[in-house]
Symmetry: C2
Subunit: 94 residues, 2 copies
């Protein structure tokens, strides 16, 4: 069982009120020195079959069409704990 | 400017309705072979100072007390793009 991680973050030019709320709360809570915070989503996909290039391409398509709104978000797809599959399949897009 | 990433995921024993909703929608959308999906949060923290062990310990405390609800969530703290700081500061907890 391989795990593929899809990270979905708002594009840098898009305002991130959640991240801003966290960042502004930090000094109040005693944490200084954090210049910026962005909050996004992390999807962990457990893939039954070995993660071939073809499977990874399908997952990238899935991320593009379903997990991320590519108008305002960018995503990263990478293989983690790929037992019995080829190693690093990192890739980014949009 | 170094970037520290905090990943917050529901613990494996906690039901994840968001992830389930995604997983169940996949066959309908033509994506087969995904056994499980978990959805969590990803925080990207831009740290002004170099990420020393002490700074990383503070960020871990921040994740523990503020970003994650450690009753139901676990978190991972790791340094990404640590320019001018020591290399990998990966660590997990809770």
């Amino acid at each position: 069982m391989a795990r593929v991680v899809v990270d979905v973050m708002l594009k840098p030019e898009i305002l991130d009120p959640q991240g801003q709320a966290v960042q502004r709360a930090l000094p109040r809570l005693g944490f200084e020195g954090i210049a910026d915070v962005r909050q996004g989503k992390r999807f962990e996909l457990d893939v039954a079959e070995p993660v071939t290039d073809e499977a990874l391409a399908r997952i990238r398509e899935l991320a593009e069409t379903f997990l991320a709104n590519t108008v305002i978000e960018h995503y990263t797809v990478r293989v983690e704990e790929a037992e019995g599959a080829e190693g690093a399949g990192a890739g980014a897009a949009a």
